[in-house]
């Protein structure tokens, strides 16, 4: 197979909020951008959130216009559902090889009518809904996904052909192959984002095992207006919970799980979720078990104080372990670090484990020649603070949570900073 050859000014890997912001800044300054993301839609993690702290803006409502700006921009080309094979610096420019995986849908013809999805008889887990709901084996990734092309999951397809028969545009192609691209770019921005510490990082909490111990991203979906159940119910039995606990630092500040640092966002997203739950379930009790509340950003402390005034319980305590009861409820063994510091057992209907942020796996960087990672696994920035987005390779810049835990606003600032670095690099090297 012959790789399609392309050229651009700036190549951006990752289309989350940092990547999108960097792309818009570069493109609005008049340079061409090519972006690649492994997901079938642009938008990163932010598009799957319910609301954002501390403004409580609906995440969809503020992310979708950003996504639309990226996809409509004349100077930005996006490749979703694609994977980079390597990035090499050759003669001062960058050679990027990537493949676009087959969706089994001819994008040029698809009108995104969704008829294939309606007729498909196979239900599979919906990752966008954090596996809380089901989707069809051929489906548009989510309501406001960009692009609005369905993806056929070949692994689960039963090859019944119903989608192909119903498609008015005749765009289902079961024999579609991956397409290879060879891109030459003048500068590169890595905005590869982060992963979440696994639910079972601390086995004693029963994450991934107990049905009503859920992840914060699952809670985001439960709280989203267009979420899987149109409301907050617990996964085991659909009951509306009366008492919800948040266990802070369940995936951070803990050397034993390989995440010694603070993940920066967990305090705030838990406070936000607790506030949203107070609205969604006015009768329910919310308790946040924490070590320190790290409400350090602009307007965050005031947001935290509001949460306390709303009656959300903040308990400084260590959670030793969690047990599942027959009712599906959870028994938390806690040790309060305030008042009478005695071991105690408390019961909740539902528990959110405040997972932390960890770097994306090493293989993501293995094929980018010369990128080194710091002791925590994030992209190493050798020239802070004078040149704070520069990686070890001149011309490759990093932004967002790829360099360490960041909240949205910090990722946005840092993406703007990476964008101007990329523009300046092009200016310097094209002389």
């Amino acid at each position: 197979m012959q790789a399609e050859k392309m050229e651009t000014d700036v190549f951006i890997l990752g289309t989350g909020i940092a990547g999108m912001q960097a792309a818009l800044d570069v493109a609005d300054a008049g340079k061409n951008v090519v972006m690649v993301d492994k997901s079938p839609s642009i938008g990163g993690k932010m598009i799957s959130l319910s609301k954002v702290f501390p403004t409580l803006d609906c995440a969809s409502c503020i992310t979708t216009p950003r996504m639309a700006s990226v996809s409509h921009h004349k100077k930005i080309t996006t490749f979703t559902y694609s994977e980079v094979r390597f990035i090499r610096k050759e003669a001062g420019r960058f050679r990027i090889n990537f493949v676009k995986k087959p969706r089994y849908v001819i994008e040029e013809k698809c009108i995104s009518c969704g008829k294939c999805e309606d007729i498909c008889p196979v239900l599979i887990k919906d990752e966008f809904e954090q596996n809380l709901g089901a989707k069809k084996a051929i489906s548009i990734p989510f309501t406001n996904a960009i692009p609005q092309y369905p993806v056929l999951d070949m692994e689960h397809c039963i090859a019944c052909g119903a989608c192909a028969r119903v498609c008015p545009a005749e765009c289902i192609d079961f024999s579609q192959k991956e397409r290879e691209y060879e891109l030459t770019a003048s500068a590169v921005i890595l905005s590869t984002g982060f992963e979440i510490t696994p639910m079972n990082a601390k086995e004693e909490y029963g994450g991934g095992k107990f049905k009503n111990v859920i992840s914060p991203l699952q809670m985001e979906r439960l709280l989203a207006p267009h979420g899987p159940f149109s409301g907050v119910v617990r996964p085991s039995d659909g009951k509306i919970p009366d008492s919800i606990a948040f266990v802070q630092c369940a995936g951070s500040r803990d050397k034993s799980i390989g995440v010694p640092y603070c993940s920066r966002i967990c305090c705030m997203y838990s406070i936000k979720q607790a506030q949203l739950l107070s609205g969604a379930l006015p009768l329910a009790d919310m308790t946040i078990y924490y070590m320190d509340i790290r409400a350090f950003g602009k307007g965050y402390e005031q947001f935290y104080q509001n949460a306390k005034a709303m009656g959300i319980n903040f308990v400084k305590a260590k959670v030793g372990k969690i047990e599942e009861l027959e009712s599906g409820n959870l028994r938390l063994h806690i040790e309060r670090q305030e008042g009478e510091s005695l071991p105690e057992e408390v019961e909740h209907d539902m528990v959110v484990l405040s997972q932390g942020i960890r770097p994306t796996p090493e293989e993501n960087f293995r094929n980018i020649n010369g990128i080194s990672r710091n002791e925590y696994g994030f992209i190493h920035l050798p020239s802070v603070p004078t040149f704070p987005n520069a990686t070890g390779i001149d011309g490759i810049f990093a932004a967002g949570a790829a360099v360490g835990p960041k909240d949205i606003v910090d990722a946005v600032q840092d993406a703007g900073s990476a964008a101007i670095d990329a523009l300046n690099y092009i200016k310097r090297t094209s002389r």
Binding site: G30, Q148, P385
Partner: protein, 587 residues
């Protein structure tokens, strides 16, 4: 207007108007609730409408193709799209019209999703009727729409960066490298701002002086960065692309013209009141910046050798409570977190203990907020090294008293059953927070929005942190919010990126939706000037009001107060709005 004349004027408009109405299903987002076929059918009979269609996704390339085809073959010259929020796809469809050769402003977007199907799920019939009315109103409006042209303003390829700390230097450097003419304005006699007093900074432990020298070297290598030391901004006026900044440099005034402004005016340290934690009643109570100076001095002179024990008190001037803390002159306390003090303090304690492992350290805190990658390790290390941490309750404050040669610090400690603890120490360090520098001249001249925390209020706290609502003005670093050295550098550069984007084309294109005054109707009452939110957007000329289009944001406040109906906003004229109201209220 009598009914008859209204009728006539409508006819006049409709002589050459052919409206195309397109009702989108949005997958099922709209059509599951709203009967889109009924809506399209209803509109097809509406006066002025030539084509009325419904389609599953108007924004898809096929959907847009329908519009283009109708413009080309059916002579459609006004377009109404009833779909999602215009925030999503207004630009999409302007592009559609442009591609088909039609003025992009001859299009009206009706939101029947967020304002229709999504909010009226339980009443499909009413949702359908509401959609019809909204679309009829849009048809009436677009019938009265003239082609509009974007306002173009020439922009000077020069930028004033106000404040020469790390944010300002980073911004200036980034812009200088882009080839812009940069004026970097600093009130002190050297660049660097707080870098000058940081000594060794966390997490790199690199000397602030060294960072500063590197930045200075890079800046001085560019001859398009003009450095103004010992200079202050006296006055700013003008608008995007054409700001005029009056600077007083070492006593002599100078005026510069710039296309954009980057405000990186930084912060000042909170200064405790006399008696606050015994501050100023004894020299043994010092602030964090004082302590950093002492550490620096100690390196040469061993001046901290005889200090055997130190207590650190967190959140002095931060996270304040009006019932416990004394307010500032504006009668407000600092209710925000200053972000950097926890890490900075723990890092300085670490430095102290590395030299003097035997010193006794007591740390009175509320929450330890060591949020950065390396920051947590300081906390862990100090806990292991025997620093005693006491957590004081939010509704109390530690007390500091002078006891002879010593200082006594008393506090409740949450970690030990709220017990009252008391320690005797040789020194108390108050971890003082940050407050924005006084930039009232700039704030007043530019009418910058200020938050309740006194920092400059950004256009959006999540997605537009370095912008303000006024185009051409960008903010970076601690003028916006407390941040550390690295974060300030990011902020300054992000602001530079925005300024660079704006000025890269030499010309700025602004939305045409601005107000204009009909001088024949204006009676010079100046009510509009009083109502206008944007300084200088309306001026008086020969006794009549006049709008400066580049400054006008088209909010319509002036039009609303004009008693002679002399003011109209392009695209939202009084006549259009009257017609829309009439269409909606008609049964």
């Amino acid at each position: 207007m009598t009914d008859k004349s209204a009728e006539q004027s409508r006819d006049f408009y409709r002589q050459d108007v052919k409206v195309g109405v397109y009702v989108c299903h949005c997958g099922g987002n709209i059509s599951d609730i709203i009967d889109v076929e009924d809506v399209a059918r209803d509109l097809s009979d509406y006066p002025g409408v030539s084509v009325s269609r419904n389609y599953i996704f108007m924004c898809s390339s096929t959907g847009q193709g329908l519009v283009e085809e109708d413009i080309r073959t059916k002579g459609i010259n006004r377009v109404v799209i009833a779909a999602c929020s215009p925030a999503l796809h207004e630009l999409t469809f302007r592009g559609t019209l442009e591609r088909a050769g039609l003025n992009p402003y001859l299009y009206e977007h009706v939101n029947i999703r967020e304002q229709g199907s999504w909010v009226h799920k339980s009443n499909k019939k009413a949702a359908t009727e509401k959609s019809k009315k909204l679309i009829r109103a849009a048809v009436e409006k677009i019938c009265r729409q003239n082609p509009l042209e974007a306002i173009r303003v020439n922009a000077a390829r020069s930028i004033a960066v106000i404040g020469g700390g790390v944010a300002g230097m980073s911004a200036a450097l980034s812009l200088g490298r882009q080839g812009f003419n940069v004026y970097l304005i600093e009130k002190e006699n050297r660049l660097g701002g707080k870098l000058n007093s940081l000594w060794k900074a966390y997490p790199s432990e690199e000397d602030g002086e060294k960072t500063l020298e590197e930045l200075e070297k890079d800046i001085s290598s560019l001859n398009n960065i003009n450095i103004y030391l010992e200079s202050e901004v006296k006055k700013i006026d003008g608008y995007v692309g054409n700001f005029s900044v009056e600077i007083v440099k070492k006593g002599s005034p100078e005026k510069i013209k710039v296309g954009a402004l980057v405000i990186t005016t930084g912060y000042v340290h909170y200064i405790p009141f006399e008696g606050e934690y015994a501050y100023k009643t004894t020299k043994k109570v010092v602030t964090l910046p004082d302590f950093i100076e002492m550490l620096k001095d100690d390196e040469k002179n061993g001046s901290l050798k005889n200090v055997k024990s130190v207590a650190f008190i967190h959140c002095v001037g931060s996270r304040q409570n009006p019932s416990l803390d004394k307010p500032q002159k504006d009668e407000k306390v600092n209710d925000y977190c200053s972000r950097t003090c926890c890490t900075s303090a723990l890092f300085r304690i670490k430095q102290l203990l590395e030299k003097y492992p035997d010193k006794k350290i007591f740390d009175f805190y509320r929450d330890i907020r060591t949020y950065g990658l390396q920051h947590e390790s300081y906390y862990e290390e100090l806990s292991k090294k025997g620093v005693l941490f006491f957590r004081y309750p939010e509704d109390t404050r530690p007390q500091v008293e002078v006891k002879g040669d010593k200082l006594e610090v008393k506090s409740k400690d949450i970690l030990t059953w709220n017990e009252e603890v008391s320690v005797e120490v040789d020194m108390v360090v108050l971890l003082t927070g940050v407050m924005p520098a006084d930039i009232s001249v700039i704030v007043d001249d530019l009418k910058l929005p200020i938050g309740s925390d006194r920092f400059i209020l950004e256009a959006h706290p999540k997605l537009r942190p370095v912008e303000v609502p006024n185009l051409g003005i960008y903010i970076g670093g601690t003028a916006q919010a407390p941040m550390d050295l690295l974060e300030a550098a990011y902020g300054g550069k992000a602001a530079a990126s925005k300024a660079s984007m704006l000025l890269s084309k030499g010309e700025i294109s602004l939305d045409p939706f601005v107000a204009s005054v009909n001088p024949e109707l204006c009676d010079g009452c100046e009510k509009c000037i009083g109502e206008c939110l944007y300084p200088g957007a309306i001026v008086m000329e020969n006794g009549k009001a006049k709008v400066i289009p580049a400054l006008c944001k088209g909010c319509g406040a002036c039009a609303a107060v004009c008693h002679t109906r002399a003011i109209n906003v392009a695209g939202y004229s009084l006549e259009q709005i009257d017609a829309m109201v009439e269409a909606i209220s008609k049964e």
